[in-house]
């Protein structure tokens, strides 16, 4: 039995051609995939980019689901022997139910989880998560944990935890649950595969459409599978194109940081100059992430935040005391073959931070606003005026000065002094 479509055979279509097309599409994919960096801003990542909620109570969405979806918190799994902290399984279960408010008890207070996420989550929540509390109190005894919950030392926590009365037995189970949580460490978050599934699904449709066209002939109208094939294949190409363009770019990237640091509070409400913390911005290619001891200039006095309480600020103090630097997550990350100098742009170029970083003073969680693509750089280099007259350095450009004087040109943009040369940025 011959399984050949007479129509397509007329056009020279064979299984060879099919393989050829398939391998070409796959090859294109592989090329896009082999680029150095990978894309962080897949759709699910930016879902969490809801704007910050200023009132902590209203931020309480379903934190359990949030916790499951959120990215991995960069918390090290403590290396300890299990026996020392081991608890009865029942206690742990019970503690978890208590923490989540699933256990009926006679307290009128909200459940723990209504304020404390199980993990740092995409949604901004100024309160420490269960994991963070668990790690901090793993080495401490039950009495101090109990004191923390029922008789907090003051400030915001005393306000919220006012009148808390828990049975010691209940709290013990909570502690058991938290200890267990800390020892197990954060659960790995499975990578989101929605787009991949979609891609593979489309691939299956293509395969089906091709098989239908060439072998099965179940559908009367050949145009239908053909259209399906073309449409689906087109969509796949679009997906590949989009992913390819976005490779290495991370516009909108807004990861969790180890400390819930708010630029809105510092740069916005408290009006601290960017250069106070990022103090090498005028001298170095790197703007500099402030060393922890710089934070202590203020935070040796300011020990409690209006929203976050003491927990977050204590991390900075811990860092200095324990000689362990804070491991921030890098957001603006240019490829290694790009030379970029903050000093050039801020000091000589007199650019405002906002022009590239967006309105940081309005961001509770810092986010990459621009895509930092080469096209974006060049757009600016082609339009931005340099400090041509004010800066004596440019006196070496005699011809341009003459043209400026004679009115031939009315401004000197970066590209006119070599700002679009390859080796301006790549060497």
């Amino acid at each position: 039995m011959k399984l050949k479509s007479p129509v397509l055979q007329n056009y020279g279509f064979s299984s060879r051609l099919f393989l050829f097309i398939l391998s070409i599409s796959i090859f294109v994919l592989s090329v896009t995939a082999s680029a150095e960096t990978q894309n962080p801003s897949s759709e699910t990542d930016s879902v969490g980019a809801q704007t910050a909620v200023s009132e902590p109570d209203s931020a309480m969405v379903d934190s359990i689901t949030n916790a499951e979806q959120s990215a991995t918190a960069e918390v090290q799994k403590p290396k300890r022997k299990v026996d020392k902290y081991s608890h009865y399984r029942d206690d742990i279960k019970r503690g978890e139910r208590f923490f989540r408010g699933l256990l009926p008890h006679n307290n009128k207070q909200a459940s723990c989880t209504s304020c404390h996420n199980l993990l740092p989550s995409d949604t901004l929540n100024w309160n420490p998560s269960a994991m963070e509390i668990a790690i901090k109190y793993l080495d401490k005894d039950f009495a101090s944990f109990q004191a923390l919950v029922t008789e907090p030392s003051g400030g915001k926590m005393a306000e919220v935890h006012q009148g808390y009365e828990f049975e010691a037995a209940d709290l013990k189970t909570v502690k058991a649950y938290l200890d267990d949580l800390a020892m197990r460490g954060p659960q790995p978050v499975k990578p989101t595969i929605n787009r991949l599934l979609l891609f593979l699904f489309l691939g299956m449709i293509i395969t089906w459409a091709l098989l239908e066209l060439i072998f099965f002939h179940k559908i009367k109208y050949k145009a239908i599978p053909l259209l399906i094939f073309l449409g689906v294949f087109g969509y796949q190409v679009k997906m590949i194109y989009e992913e390819g363009v976005n490779l290495g770019r991370s516009q909108g990237y807004e990861p969790d940081q180890p400390i819930k640091f708010s630029h809105k509070v510092h740069a916005g409400q408290n009006q601290i100059d960017c250069k106070y913390c990022h103090f090498t911005v005028e001298d170095s290619k790197s703007a500099g992430i402030p060393p922890a001891d710089l934070c202590l200039n203020c935070h040796s006095v300011v020990r409690e935040g209006t929203r976050s309480g003491k927990f977050e600020i204590a991390k900075v103090i811990d860092a200095v005391e324990n000689n362990k630097p804070v491991e921030w997550v890098r957001i603006h990350d240019l490829p290694d073959h790009v030379f970029f100098s903050h000093a050039q742009h801020v000091n000589s170029g007199k650019l405002d931070c906002i022009e590239c970083h967006g309105d940081v003073a309005e961001m509770d969680v810092l986010k990459q606003v621009e895509d930092l693509s080469m096209g974006w750089c060049l757009d600016c280099h082609r339009t931005k005026e340099v400090q041509f007259v004010d800066n004596k350095f440019y006196e070496s450009y005699e011809t341009l000065h003459e043209q400026l004087k004679s009115g031939e040109i009315n401004k000197v943009t970066v590209d006119m002094i070599g700002g679009t040369d390859c080796m301006k940025c790549h060497y």
């Binding site: 796959i26 150095e36 990978q38 402030p290 200095v320 000589s348 004596k392 060497y427």
Partner: protein, 992 residues
């Protein structure tokens, strides 16, 4: 008549048919090679399936992947003046037992990445050499000792100290003999430490041992002036330099200092119209000999005879009574005449380690009145202090079981002592042996305790290189491994557990600070000297007696004449790259082509063309020399007829990648005569053996096809007509027309000029360039396939009679043509011209067609056939012949320069990162860029100041003056490529 230049002997013996055949077979060879390479890449069904699976997997990744989380970790407490992303420079001192250099260390984000010369030093004056430049890579060496060890097993410092102290106490109790064997110590503080150690262990003895010994010279001066010392030479004051096998530009005593002085007097720029004249007598072809105005071949066994005759002749000319001497093999009357005419303004030096020869040289310089002018005896050079007899005596005593304890600091006699095997066996008889090494070397394999020392970039140290010329070394990084300063170890064992930083500071306060007379407080003095890296106290030596030449007549009477002329002679020398072999594990140095033979990654036996013909030897033929070998032969034009030269410093057993494969160790050949080491063997036997051995040459694949590339003239002609040798320039200029308007550059137009008269070919620039620009090391196999990556190369051409040719050199890097042939053939515009006249290369755009490479008339573009530095995402693309992809080695990479991946072209960028850095600094300070502010790595490293860089638009700049000089010309300017690199004609001070 146009003179014929040739690059190798093959060029000269030109037979069209043979040449065609060669090309053919060469092609065939490379085709075979390519086939061999591609065969492994032929696609099989399994490969297809693999690829298929891989593409599906990568498609999956492409559509769903997440970027790995990058951390940004700031300082906890930011040190003052350390700015992340900006380099800091620290003054330090490089001394490896052989070379001295005052340096600045560039430190980026906590790691030293580049060595620069310290311009404040009056000794090295900002110059460096290849080994100094490469020393930074030694810090990141996987073969370094990482822990203290006892009998090959790791041990803690506490336990080790405990055991060593007990053992030392035992020796002390039974009044045993303890010996501290070191290299020459030029550090005053270390000397104090040693004295303290000796005081704590009565009966202990300190013996110094130099690998390349100058004990003949030390002894000669002791007999002539009453003190064993090396005087301070000043080549810049000499109008006439006569050197007998003293390779003072490459390896003799203090080559960086001498190159500075030498080149200073050989420049014909900035109004200087006179230059020194240099005559060189030698057997092999050395770097210095190849730079001489006149080079006279002698056999080194006859060196004494020639010098004696010269002395006799000078005596005659000076009106004294000459004695009867056997005739000299070469005519020295002319030399004597010239010397006597330059009385007090000449300098005669000899590289011999023979006491009597050096006594004769002293007598000649004394007769010529050079002392006090070109030679100073009140300032001593401290770089060699060891007496060969001491070391020989030590080995005897060790064998006799008279040594109870031996501490080895900074020496490796098992490898580099001629009787290394004997030393090794004798070492087994020493009850307590301790080594304080940096690298895992041959000797430390055979000692009980290994107490690893810091690398010099991790340690405090000081040096007194010449009387009153002090310099300091400071740590530029925290110790990478569990090492401890050797001085601290010695202090600990002397019962004074103080850290060496405190010790050195105290020492300076007590001993050196009083020499300063500017009334500063000590801490200010210390800080300013640490900042400068140097301190000049002006201290002079005294206690010398008047010249005593009483032995000279006896020597003259005993000089023997020629006896037959048939015996072959072996000349052992150190080259500019590997030197004594201390840095043999440094791939930058191993891949550095020798300035004369252009061979890297091996040593070889250089023979003269005549001898090769007689014995039917060819390049790469294996031979045995006595029982040394087999070693490949290289036919070397200019080699004395019956002299064979072999480089020392190769063949280290446990170094190199793979271990022990780089060359053959020639140290066991070094002879001993009258108690001092001899680097010339008078009668050797050369035996052809079966087979040949492929050498990695960078020579024959840069051929420039006999065009007028190096332009040359003589001083006489130059004085008559400054454009002499360069007459064709004007003529060419009139021919050069272009359809296009010449490009104008507003702002800056960068240019470089190279004074061929200054360049000695020392290769410092090549290593400096590699360090600055992350130039990969490709390994021997790849060099053989003409795939070396150096962005700057030093071409050398021979001229004249192959048996006694002249040699010229020319550094070539990208010429940054304003009419660049490479730019308009690139299909993807990866190489373009910048607004400032720089030929740019955008690696990420390059797709590797190599059209540019083919269209470049200068052949300066390099292609990454593989990934050599670990830059590539695909591990299969990497080949790593020299461990340069390990994490430790990669610490040396310059973060301001992209590390290139497989498949892209690269080339000299005029150190664009330095240009941009200085431009930005000027911009930030709102001032114009100064001339001389931008210095590329090659120019910075140059001990001869042969390279000038600057802005051609600035008519006042030094580079513009060089370009306006009548000597200036461009390489292949007839092609109208309009290079931004200019060359100044070479002027030789000779009469034709």
């Amino acid at each position: 008549m146009k003179e014929q230049y040739y690059k190798s002997l093959d060029d000269l013996i030109y037979d069209a048919r043979q040449a065609a055949e060669e090309v053919d077979s060469g092609d065939r060879k490379s085709i075979l090679q390519m086939k061999k390479e591609s065969r492994s890449e032929a696609t099989s069904r399994r490969d297809f399936l693999k690829l298929f699976g891989f593409t599906i997997a990568s498609a999956a990744i492409a559509t769903s992947c997440q970027q790995p989380v990058q951390k940004a970790i700031p300082f906890l407490i930011q040190p003052e003046k350390i700015i992340p992303g900006e380099a800091s420079y620290f003054a330090s001192t490089y001394f490896d037992g052989n070379d001295y250099c005052s340096v600045l260390v560039k430190v980026r984000d906590g790691r030293p990445i580049k060595i620069e010369g310290n311009a404040l030093s009056p000794v090295t004056r900002g110059g460096t050499n290849a080994r100094t430049q490469a020393s930074v890579l030694g810090l990141y060496d996987n073969k370094r000792h990482k822990n203290p060890k006892f009998k090959g097993k790791k041990i803690s410092w506490e336990d080790g100290d405990q055991q060593i102290l007990e053992a030392l106490a035992e020796i002390k109790a039974k009044e045993g003999k303890l010996v501290l064997l070191t290299g020459t110590i030029i550090s005053p503080s270390t000397n104090a430490v040693i004295q303290e150690f000796l005081a704590a262990h009565p009966g202990a003895e300190h013996i110094q041992y130099d690998v390349i010994s100058a004990s003949g010279m030390l002894q000669a001066n002791e007999q002539s002036y009453g003190k064993a010392f090396i005087p301070s030479y000043d080549f810049s004051k000499a109008d006439l330099i006569v050197s007998f096998d003293a390779d003072f530009l490459g390896s003799w005593l203090s080559p960086i200092e001498y190159t500075k002085q030498y080149s200073e007097r050989r420049k014909l720029v900035d109004g200087q119209r006179s230059m020194s004249r240099h005559l060189h007598f030698e057997g092999g072809m050395s770097l210095t000999g190849s730079n001489a105005d006149e080079r006279i071949q002698i056999r080194l066994s006859q060196e004494k005879l020639v010098i004696a005759n010269l002395y006799n002749e000078l005596k005659k000319l000076a009106g004294e009574q000459p004695v009867n001497l056997p005739a000299s093999p070469v005519d020295i009357t002319k030399v004597a005449g010239e010397l006597i005419a330059k009385k007090g303004k000449s300098l005669v030096v000899s590289g011999s380690n023979d006491l009597e020869t050096q006594l004769l040289v002293n007598a000649i310089n004394e007769l010529l009145g050079n002392y006090g002018n070109t030679i100073r005896t009140d300032v001593h050079l401290k770089l060699r202090q060891a007496m060969d007899a001491d070391m020989a005596g030590l080995v005897d005593r060790m064998e006799a079981g008279q040594v109870d304890g031996l501490i080895l600091y900074d020496v490796n006699p098992v490898y580099d002592y001629p009787q290394g095997e004997r030393f090794k066996t004798a070492l087994q008889q020493v009850p307590l042996s301790i080594a304080l090494p940096i690298l895992g070397e041959e000797t430390s394999e055979h000692v009980q305790y290994i107490c690893p020392d810091h690398h010099y970039l991790e340690a405090w140290n000081d040096a007194e290189v010449k009387s009153g010329s002090y310099s300091l070394a400071q740590p530029t990084i925290r110790p990478i491994f569990k090492t401890r300063a050797a001085q601290e170890s010695l202090l600990k064992w002397a019962g004074n557990p103080v850290d060496f930083h405190t010790y050195i500071q105290n020492y300076w306060e007590k001993n050196i600070y009083p020499q300063a007379q500017d009334g500063q407080a000590f801490i200010d003095f210390w800080n300013s000297k640490l900042h400068d890296g140097i301190f000049e106290s002006g201290r002079k030596e005294d206690g010398l007696s008047a010249y005593n030449g009483e032995r000279v007549p006896t020597i003259l009477a005993q000089v023997k004449g020629l006896k037959g002329n048939d015996a072959l002679e072996l000349n052992l020398y150190t080259n500019v790259s590997v030197g004594t072999g201390k840095q043999a594990n440094n791939p930058w140095l191993q891949e550095l082509p020798d300035p004369v033979t252009k061979i890297c990654w091996d040593n070889y036996a250089a023979v003269s063309p005549k001898l090769a013909k007689e014995l039917e030897l060819e390049d790469e033929q294996l031979v045995m020399i006595n029982d040394f070998g087999p070693i490949p032969v290289v036919v070397q034009p200019g080699q004395e007829h019956r002299t064979i030269s072999v480089a020392l410093g190769y063949g280290r057993v446990n170094l190199g990648t793979p271990e022990g494969t780089v060359g053959k160790n020639a140290f066991p050949l070094v002879a001993s005569e009258n108690g001092s080491l001899r680097y010339t063997l008078k009668q050797v036997n050369l035996q052809k053996v079966e087979g040949d051995y492929q050498l990695a040459k960078t020579q024959s694949h840069h051929s420039m096809e006999g065009r007028n590339l190096v332009r040359e003239t003589t001083l006489e002609d130059y004085l008559a007509n400054p454009a002499s040798g360069n007459e064709m320039r004007e003529e060419l200029k009139s021919h050069l027309k272009s359809l296009y308007a010449q490009r104008k550059f507003d702002g800056f137009h960068w240019g470089m000029a190279i004074d061929l008269n200054s360049c000695t070919g020392c290769n410092a620039c090549v290593v400096a360039c590699s360090a600055e620009n992350n130039v990969p090391v490709v390994g021997k196999e790849q060099v053989i396939m003409a795939r070396e990556m150096h962005w700057i190369r030093i071409d050398r051409y021979y001229k004249g009679d192959p048996d006694n040719p002249e040699l010229v050199r020319q550094p070539v890097m990208c010429q940054h043509c304003d009419n660049a042939p490479c730019e308009n053939v690139c299909p993807v515009a990866a190489t373009t011209h910048s607004n400032e006249g720089v030929n740019q290369m955008a690696y990420n755009r390059c797709i590797g067609t190599r059209y540019c490479n083919n269209n470049c008339p200068y052949k300066v573009r390099r292609f990454n056939f593989f990934d050599y530095t670990g830059a590539d995402a695909m591990p299969g693309n990497t080949i790593d012949p020299a461990e340069m992809t390990t994490d430790l080695r990669r610490l040396v990479l310059n973060p301001d320069v992209t590390v290139r991946a497989k498949g892209v072209i690269e080339k000299c960028s005029f150190c664009i990162q330095r240009i941009q850095e200085k431009k930005l600094a000027a911009k930030n300070e709102s001032r114009q860029l100064q001339d001389g502010e931008v210095v590329p790595a090659c120019a910075q490293s140059c001990p001869a100041d042969a390279i000038v860089f600057g802005d051609l638009n600035n008519k006042e700049s030094r580079i513009s003056k060089f370009f306006d000089d009548e000597r200036n010309y461009h390489l292949l300017e007839e092609l109208h490529t309009l290079p931004s690199v200019g060359y100044l004609t070479k002027v030789k001070n000779k009469t034709v």
